[in-house]
């Protein structure tokens, strides 16, 4: 049997940290297992920006990615590696639910683990939060950590 892959959605919140803890627990039980933690920067190609923002966009994107690594992924990766886990960190721009599901398919993951965060804002109220949307649309099993 090949290596099992878990995808964990991380957003810097306590719920995200609990999802990672749960994934570690499952990974220990599974044996040969890889954990892929993913931080999604919410972004849409259909927004409106000024010409100046466009000219600076590439630079800002690099900064956003560096910041996500520095603040969220790297601390999690360091401690998980110290504990002996096979773990990888990925930062992507886009819609969190779509990106996490696409990543799960890309890596042939067995499961997605994500923290439940209270729905905020109008968009989340109408379309549901990331966890809710993944639960209804994901192509692999999803575990939502309260």
């Amino acid at each position: 049997m090949g290596q099992t892959t878990f995808i964990v959605g991380l957003d810097g919140s306590d719920a995200g940290a609990r999802a990672l803890a749960f994934a570690k627990d499952r990974a220990k039980a599974a044996g040969d297992c890889k954990i892929v933690i993913c931080y999604v920067i919410e972004w849409s190609p259909f927004t409106f920006q000024t010409a100046e923002e466009n000219a600076q966009r590439h630079k800002r994107r690099e900064n956003e990615i560096a910041m996500a690594h520095e603040r969220v992924l790297d601390p999690a990766l360091t401690s998980a590696k110290a504990e002996g886990f096979d773990i990888e960190g990925i930062v992507r721009h886009g819609d969190a639910a779509d990106i996490i599901d696409a990543l799960a398919r890309e890596r042939d993951a067995k499961q997605i683990m994500i923290g439940r965060v209270g729905t905020k804002g109008l968009k989340a109220r109408i379309f549901g939060g990331v966890a809710g949307r993944l639960a209804t649309t994901a192509t692999v099993p999803v575990t939502i950590i309260p």
Binding site: I41, W43, P45, F46, T47, F48, Q49, T50, A51, E52, E53, N54, A55, Q56, R57, H58, K59, R61, E62, E64, I65, R92, H93, G94, A102
Partner: protein, 518 residues
């Protein structure tokens, strides 16, 4: 921030004493007006000089010939590539690894926010009130041809942009003039780039600034009552200065988000008015078609309608002017041609859709006076245009036309016009700044000087009366087109080479839709 406060204080200090000492505020307007006519009249005269023995201005011919040449040279790309353009904007061919970068849609939307605005509202009213309904026909024709020009300039804009080590980009005609000419071993690329930059700075101060301020004031005073233009100018100048120099990006961001919805709402209202008058749509198209070839009694007849249509289309969609090449060059793509495809949608949305909507509503509303016996327009020789309801022109005419269906529309139009004007000013301040830094180099003080001058011109534009401002702004924009189109003629073989390569890779399956990649 201290620097900002200092400049705002200087701005007030420069403007207020002179304005306050003027007992008659109207005199200030007249003085500015006179100054304007005295100093810019000769140049405006040169730009709009008619061809010998005709009343057709050489500059209109210049733009049209350019657009026709590009249309033929690229095999009517605006029609053959239209569907592909839409697919590109939808993101069908976008690399998922480029998520977070500037998308095709964003580059298009940004460029559109610099063009969709007063040209579509006030400019169309000016064209129709001078050129009659027939001007609309020529506006659509010019818009369709202009799509090929936009394709050419924006492909080059992306191909020859500068990408700096920090990840920021700078592009536009000045860069393709220098790099493209060098690649072909041609001389004078640098000189053309300098000339283009000078015209861009003046165009930014004219069409991208004074015309906007002028029409914003016209619309506000049309709704709330007459008051001196410099007040509107000063408020807009301070707001613009706060955004472009003071880092109040939140205002710019809010404007950028509201403006597209205003544009969509404007089109929707137009569609509703057309549906309400569905029985007159065929008649209106008849007026547009007949007027296009006869003029329906306007001065200059057929050519009068044609000139007005072409002038307004060029002023509205800016095809051939070169400004769009600056805006589009920030896109993230490895294929310059793909941005050319996207850019060709701009004149279509701006002119063929939005301008036509305005023109149809004006024609259907009946605000243009026609002789009931002959069906010809009643010409007002004193004002040099068709007699209109309430004797109004420009944005006030559009306002009156829409008010025939919805009495609340002038208030909404006032908000839309001010926002459109503001967003166009911010876009053009960027185009002007790019030309300024191309000439003088980058640096905080140098950039602040331009931004300060830009804001002073907002006040002048709002205080001056319509005609000198509109003529000056047209003249500056068209001057950009003179240099830009010469460059495009020399560089179009490069675009053709790129297009062939792109198309063959599209055909062979090397370029595939993102969804088909897996």
């Amino acid at each position: 921030m201290l620097r900002l406060h200092h400049f705002v204080a200087t701005l007030f200090a420069c403007l207020l004493p002179g304005l306050a000492s003027a007992q008659e505020l109207a005199t200030v307007n007249e003085r500015v007006n006179q100054l304007f006519a005295d100093y810019t009249g000769w140049y405006v005269g040169f730009i709009f000089a008619p061809l010998p023995g005709t009343d057709f201005s050489w500059i209109a011919l210049w733009l049209v010939v350019g657009a026709v040449v590009f249309t033929i040279y690229f095999g009517a790309i605006q029609f053959s590539g239209f569907i592909h353009s839409i697919r590109l904007v939808k993101g069908d061919y976008s690399d998922p690894n480029d998520a977070g970068e500037v998308s095709h849609f964003q580059a298009l939307a940004t460029a559109l926010s610099g063009t969709v605005g007063l040209g579509n509202i006030a400019g169309v009213a000016v064209a129709v009130s001078i050129g009659g309904a027939g001007a609309t026909f020529w506006m659509i024709v010019a818009g369709l041809f202009g799509m090929a020009t936009k394709f050419t300039e924006c492909t080059l804009g992306v191909k020859y942009r500068n990408e700096y080590p920090d990840g920021s980009v700078s592009g536009g005609p000045m860069y393709y003039m220098v790099k493209g000419f060098k690649e072909l071993g041609l001389p004078l690329g640098g000189a053309m780039a300098v000339l283009f930059s000078v015209f861009t700075i003046l165009g930014a101060l004219g069409g991208g600034n004074m015309f906007q301020a002028n029409q914003a004031h016209a619309q506000i005073s049309n709704v709330v009552g007459d008051y001196p233009g410099w007040i509107t100018g000063l408020v807009l100048a301070v707001l613009t200065f706060a955004v472009i120099a003071g880092g109040l990006k939140s205002i710019a961001r809010v404007t950028e988000k509201i403006v597209p919805f205003m544009g969509i709402f404007y089109v929707l209202v137009s569609v509703v008015i057309l549906i309400m008058n569905y029985d007159q749509i065929i008649w209106a198209f008849g007026q547009i078609f007949v007027g296009a070839f006869t003029g329906l009694g306007i001065v200059g007849g057929f050519t009068g309608a044609l000139i007005q249509g072409f002038r307004r289309a060029a002023f509205s969609n800016e095809a051939g002017i070169g400004s769009a090449a600056i805006a589009h060059s920030a896109v993230r793509t490895k294929e310059p041609v793909s941005e050319g495809y996207v850019a060709l949608l701009e004149p279509f949305i701006d002119t063929v859709v939005i301008c036509t909507m305005t023109a149809l509503v004006i024609v259907i509303s009946g605000v243009l006076a026609q002789d009931p016996q002959t069906g010809l327009y009643i010409w007002n020789a004193e004002l040099g245009r068709i007699t209109t309801e309430g004797d109004v022109g420009g944005v006030a005419l559009t306002s009156a036309a829409y008010a025939t269906a919805f009495s609340w529309f002038p208030v909404l139009l006032m908000v839309a016009v001010v926002l459109f004007a503001f967003s166009t000013m911010i876009s053009w301040s960027y185009y002007g700044l790019k030309a300024w830094t191309y000439l003088f180099g980058e640096g905080q003080t140098k950039e602040l000087i331009f931004k300060f001058i830009f804001c002073v011109f907002i006040v002048i534009g709002a205080a001056a009366s319509l005609d000198p401002v509109i003529d000056f702004s047209d003249a500056m924009l068209f001057s950009m087109a003179i240099v830009n189109i010469i460059a495009l003629y020399f560089l179009m073989p490069i675009v053709k080479r790129e297009l062939h390569s792109y198309r063959s890779r599209l055909k062979s399956g090397k370029i595939v839709k993102t969804a088909d990649q897996t």
